[in-house]
Amino acid sequence: MNRIKCKALSILLLLTAMVFIASPAFAGVKLEGSFKLVPAIILTACILLFLWVGFMNKAEGTSDYYAAGRSISRVGSGMAIASNWMSAASFLGMAAIMYGSGYHGLSYVVGWTGGYCLLLLLMASQIRRFGKYTATDFIGDRYYSSGMRFWTAIIAIFISFCYSVGQFGGIGLMFKWIFGMQYSASVIVGGSVVLAYTLVSGMLGVTKNQIVQYIILISAFLIPAFILTFKFKYFWLVPQLGYGRVVSDIVVGNATTFVNSFGHAMQTVPSPEFAMPWDTATGKDFFQWMATCFALMIGTAGLPHVIQKFYVVPKPADARWSVTWGLFFICLLYWTSPLYAAFGKILSSNPEVGALSKDAIVVYTAQLGSVNPIIVGFLAAGAVSAAFSTVSGLLVAGSSAFSNDIYFKIINPEATGDQQVRMAKIATIVMALGVMLVSLLKLALVAQLVALAFSIAGCTIFPLFLLGIWWSGSNRSGGIASLTVGGFFTVFSIFYFICGKFGVVLPGAAFVGYWLNPWYFAWIAAPLAVIANIVFSGMGEPTPEHIRKHLAEEVHGIRR
């Protein structure tokens, strides 16, 4: 590990030197629309660094995937969880929602962190003890049904797909910013790069790489926060507390003595709508806050690629501690995210700044605050890295669900290892192309697209895990009923949303758009799925004894 640190450090130093040589080229550019050399260098460097660390790690022997997990401390696997988790939605999307919708955005911040409590209290160590390797395996075995396995695999792929669409949107925006291309072109270029990265890195060591990624991501996100608070004379030692006065300045419309990079005074008209709960000006109400928050929480506890993390830790105790560390490392970013929304609001208040793309507000904020271009470049590169690491994880998860759970287990059980790998690669490419196409449509904000993935996970997979772990009476009939209810709501809500996007008005569109909105329909779909599970379990044949025995003895430690 020391060797890696040493080399990583020397590479970073070298890159910093390069960047300083190149930096004059960056001075005095507009917010966007031109090629930016320094961020481009930093971005390339970050991607190369990840590949290199992954390669080094492979050389140390990841032939046994679990060995990598064992040699890493709980703190380290917490960082891996955090890096795996932090995507374009965390990095860019949350600040975007708060910038545009004020207090409503906090439902995303709270939802995406509070879900970890559910995960830890109800599931983490139990999932580890159950001893399966993927969410699909767990459901297939616990509900002893290959049909359930198939449909869970389909859902897992679909969740990865929706999640990736949001990420590609973020990658597109950042490529647009760095290379000065059109959005469509940058989605295609960025998407191709991420696909190539995934195909190369899919075989490399993952966990240690994620630790390096986390450190880069969090530094990229925190450094500008310190600079902004320091520069504008707020309490900079803890920027996460220091930006409080910015929020109050926005609410009251206080004058400050500072200007943004255009020379506009840093002051807004009194804008309580930025901070007051469910303000009518934001168009979001109390119910939507609660529903979004709840749907994101249960979605967090049901996301296949998050749950999967617990299978690779050595012991259940490690699963618990790594969740706790992971949550802490995630919070470091989430505590800071509203800071960007607040500074973004107060620095872009002059109408001359014009309408900014909300999903890029984090980067614009740093620019408007006259933060050094190198740091801004680092921030943008961090956003791309966040999206890259998440997308490549999702593509791998989606394609392995296809090649392992559908192709190998159902279509062609005699497939050789080579055939499976080939199928996985084809699936990766097909998925990436599909994601690219859908992200070109720009259906919604990054955070909202990702929220859809959470709602799906929250009403399909979460109820199955919850009852599967905590009630031995839940059986195949109940599982099928639960999945049917969750699946129905998912299809129903997305169908209405897509029709609405293309101008087709269906009966009750307003009702569905409010109560069963794609970002939060799980608030009701998940409880109904749980009820369906309970009711139909009572009607079906009881759970076979070997599963009850496994559940009681291995998962819950009930010994006679």
Binding site: Y103, L106, V109, V110, G114, Y116, C117, L120, L121, S125, Y234, F235, L241, G242, G244, R245, V246, V247, S248, V251, A255, H264, A265, Q267, T268, V269, P270, S271, P272, E273, A275, M276, P277, T280, A281, F286, W289, C293, P316, A317, R320, W321, V323, T324, L327, C331, Y334, W335, P338, N350, P351, E352, S472, R548, A552, V555, H556, G557, I558, R559
Partner: protein
């Protein structure tokens, strides 16, 4: 014994002492989690009163007078300031022509004769170029020191014809209600560390609490494992 014979697992009927204690810890954790997150938002909802921004309170008195032409110059200045504060809130509002017409008409009406033409010229120019000299408007409206308001003025102007002034409009009321009335209470008006309290609670404290819940639960379960000597056999 009957239950454990059939390998019953039920969240609400723990069958071993370890599970009992584990489930108590889980239940307490979930209760704190749920109350802190959703309980607080419900409290916020219960305590809130729709609070109108001061400028809109004043405007509501003035609007009828603007309509029947009895408003004094001070009242017109106040109304124009209200329009300006509204326009400054969002880029979308800067596209609201009714609102801009109301602003420009009011300013036109209260300016002295020789400045009226300057206003019309400025409005024409502002349609294509925001770098327009509006200092005389700022002075007339008394916003010389307020840079946020000053910044909005060039964007608030729209071409009006002097014989068809509309200093107010019924269509503005819903827009103003939407942007000027906020859900406030002592929870939102108390300032802690510079934050409105509810914002601090939700954005910072809740997250810290989540970490704390996880931390305490981890310690608790580790000690339970020790107590029931399950570390070796179970973990």
């Amino acid at each position: 014994m009957e239950e454990s014979l059939s390998y019953e697992v039920n969240f609400f009927k723990p069958s071993t002492p370890f599970l009992k204690e584990n489930l108590r810890a889980i239940t307490i954790g979930l209760l704190i989690w749920g109350l802190a997150t959703y309980g607080f938002q419900i409290l916020l909802k219960i305590m809130e009163t729709p609070t109108t921004e001061a400028t809109y309170v004043a405007y509501q008195q003035i609007a009828p007078k603007l309509a029947d032409g009895t408003a004094s110059d001070e009242e017109k200045v106040a109304a124009a300031n209200t329009y300006l504060a509204l326009l400054g809130k969002s880029g979308a509002l800067l596209k609201n022509d009714t609102l801009k017409t109301a602003f420009t008409s009011t300013v036109y009406d209260l300016l002295p004769g020789d400045s009226k033409d300057a206003l019309l010229a400025a409005a024409t120019k502002a349609a294509s170029d925001s770098k327009v000299d509006v200092e005389f408007i700022n002075t007339a409206l008394g916003i010389g020191d307020n840079s946020a308001m000053k910044a909005v003025v060039p964007f608030a102007l729209i071409e009006v014809s002097p014989d068809k002034l509309a200093m107010t409009d019924a269509a503005l009321e819903p827009v103003m209600d939407k942007f000027f009335i906020h859900n406030q209470s002592f929870l939102t008006d108390t300032i802690v560390f510079g934050f409105p309290f509810h914002y601090l609670y939700t954005a910072l404290f809740l997250l810290a609490l989540f970490v704390l819940i996880c931390l305490v639960y981890c310690y608790k379960i580790d000690s339970l494992m020790k107590k029931y000597e399950m570390e070796k056999s179970f973990e």
